[in-house]
Amino acid sequence: MIEIKNVSKWYGQFQVLTDCTTEVKKGEVVVVCGPSGSGKSTLIKCVNGLEPFQQGDIVVNGTSVGDPRTNLSKLRSHVGMVFQHFELFPHMTITDNLTIAQVKVLGRSREEATDKGLKLLDRVGLKAHAHKHPGQLSGGQQQRVAIARALAMDPICMLFDEPTSALDPEMINEVLDVMVELAQEGMTMMCVTHEMGFARKVAHRVIFMDQGRIVEDAAKDDFFGKPHSERAQQFLAKILQH
C-alpha cells in the first residue's frame, strides 16, 4: 500500500531524512517513534506529498508521490491525515468541517456529504455537537472530529502525527480508543506516537527513527522484546521509566 524507497530530504544544507526505506502493507498498522527532531513528522508528511523530497521515491497505492505528473490533490484525497493540533477549521461548524472536502473535492452532494459526516460523528460519539464550532469543544473531542473528518473521505489508509500529544491525560484515551477500534477493523495505518500502550495493543510493526534515519524496523514483539540498536534501547528505557 505504502512503499518508501531510499528517501532523502534536505532543508537547505540540513539533511532531515537519510535514505529511509520501509513499507506498509494493506491492513497493517505501523507505529513510528523516536526522539524529537528525528524526522518522524517529516517522513509521514512526505507520504502524502505535503513535504517534497529530493531523492528516492514513495509509492502509495500504485501512484508515485515524487513524480511531478502526479495529481497530488487527488492522491491526498484518498489518504486520511490527522495532526497533533487537530487543525479543524475554526470558522466552520463541525458539520461544515466534515462536509466541505467531500463536496469540493469528491463532488458529493451536500445531503450525501452531511449524511456521511453525521454518521461518522455518531461513530466517534459526538453527534450532539454537530452544530458547534471547534473552539467550543475540548481537545479530545476536537481530535475525534478530526479523525471523523479524515474518514469521511473514505481513505484507503490513514496517517497520524502524534494525535494525542497535545491532549490532557484524561482525554488521551478517548482518542486512542477510536484509533484502536479503527485498527481492529483493518484500516491501514501509519502512526507517529509515543503511546507505547497503543503500540503494544494494535501495532504490527514499530519503526524507530533517529537523526533522520530508520534505525530499527521490527515486528512489535521483537521491538518491545529487545531492540537491536542501542539508541532504541535507551529511548525505550527513558520513555517507559516513570
Binding site: F89, P90, H91, I100, K104, V105, G135, M153
Partner: protein, 245 residues
C-alpha cells in the same frame, strides 16, 4: 484675541449663489466619502491579491509582491499622487495622452486620486493580509492540502476566511487612514472636504469656524467607520475563538 466669531457664515450663500457654505462642506464631504470608498475597494482587492501572493510558494510571484509593497510604501503619498496625475499621462502615447488630458478634469482628478490612494493603501492592506495568513498555524494549510484541496481551494476555504477575521482590527485602522489620506487629493484640485475648509477660509476669512467644522466632520466619519467595523467584527466572530463566545 480680537477675532470675530460668526457661526452664521455657514448659512450665507456662496458667491455664485447656488448654495450656502454649509452646502459646500457637504459637497466636499460627498467627494471625500466617494473617493475613500472607491479607493478602499481597490485597496482591498489589490491588497488581498498581493498579500496572498507574498505567501505563496513561488519565488517569482512572492518577490513581485514584495517589490510592489516596498515601492508603494516607501514613497510619500503626495509624490505618488503627483506622478499619477502629472507624470503618467506624459508617458502614454501622445494621442492617447492628449485625449485623456482633454477629458473632463473632474474625472481625471478623481481617477488619479482613486488609483493612487487605492494602490498606496493596497500595499499596507497586503502587509496585513500576509500577517494574517502567517499568524495562522502552519498546520491549517497542511490540513487543507491533506484533505485533497488544491492550493487555491486551501486559500479560499481555509486560510483567507480566518486570516480576514483576524485582521479586522488593523484593517479598521487602514480604513480610517484612507479617509484621512484622501485629503491629499486636494493637491491636484479635487474639491474634497479639507479643500472646502481651505475654500471657506479663502472666501469668508473665518478660519476657526471652518477648521472646527471640518475637524468635527472627520471625527464623525471616524466614529461611523469604527462603529460599522465593530459591528462587522462581532458579526464574523467565530464561537470559541479569539474573543468569541
Amino acid at each position: 484675541m480680537n477675532y470675530n466669531w460668526n457661526w452664521s457664515v455657514f448659512l450665507t450663500p456662496v458667491p455664485s449663489g447656488e448654495t450656502t457654505y454649509l452646502g459646500w462642506l457637504f459637497t466636499g464631504l460627498q467627494w471625500t466619502v466617494a473617493l475613500s470608498l472607491s479607493a478602499w475597494v481597490i485597496a482591498l482587492v489589490v491588497g488581498s491579491i498581493v498579500g496572498v501572493l507574498r505567501t505563496v510558494p513561488n519565488r517569482w510571484l512572492s518577490s513581485f509582491a514584495a517589490v510592489y509593497v516596498e515601492c508603494f510604501r516607501n514613497v510619500p503619498l503626495l509624490v505618488q499622487l503627483f506622478s499619477w496625475y502629472f507624470v503618467l499621462p506624459e508617458l502614454l502615447p501622445p494621442a492617447l495622452g492628449n485625449a485623456y488630458k482633454q477629458s473632463d478634469p473632474l474625472l481625471q482628478q478623481f481617477l488619479a486620486a482613486m488609483l493612487c490612494l487605492g494602490l498606496f493603501t493596497a500595499a499596507r492592506v497586503a502587509e496585513q493580509v500576509r500577517a494574517g495568513i502567517e499568524s495562522l498555524p502552519r498546520g491549517q494549510k497542511n490540513a487543507g492540502l491533506a484533505m485533497g484541496f488544491t492550493l487555491a481551494q486551501v486559500y479560499r476555504h481555509v486560510l483567507l476566511p480566518m486570516a480576514f477575521r483576524i485582521i479586522v482590527p488593523p484593517l479598521t485602522s487602514e480604513f480610517l487612514n484612507i479617509f484621512k489620506n484622501s485629503a491629499v487629493a486636494t493637491t491636484i484640485g479635487l474639491i474634497e472636504l479639507s479643500r472646502q475648509a481651505q475654500q471657506l477660509v479663502d472666501y469668508t476669512a473665518q478660519p476657526y469656524e471652518a477648521f472646527i467644522a471640518v475637524t468635527l466632520l472627520y471625527v464623525c466619519i471616524n466614529v461611523t467607520v469604527m462603529f460599522l467595523m465593530r459591528r462587522l467584527e462581532e458579526k464574523v466572530r467565530v464561537p470559541g475563538f479569539i474573543g468569541g463566545k
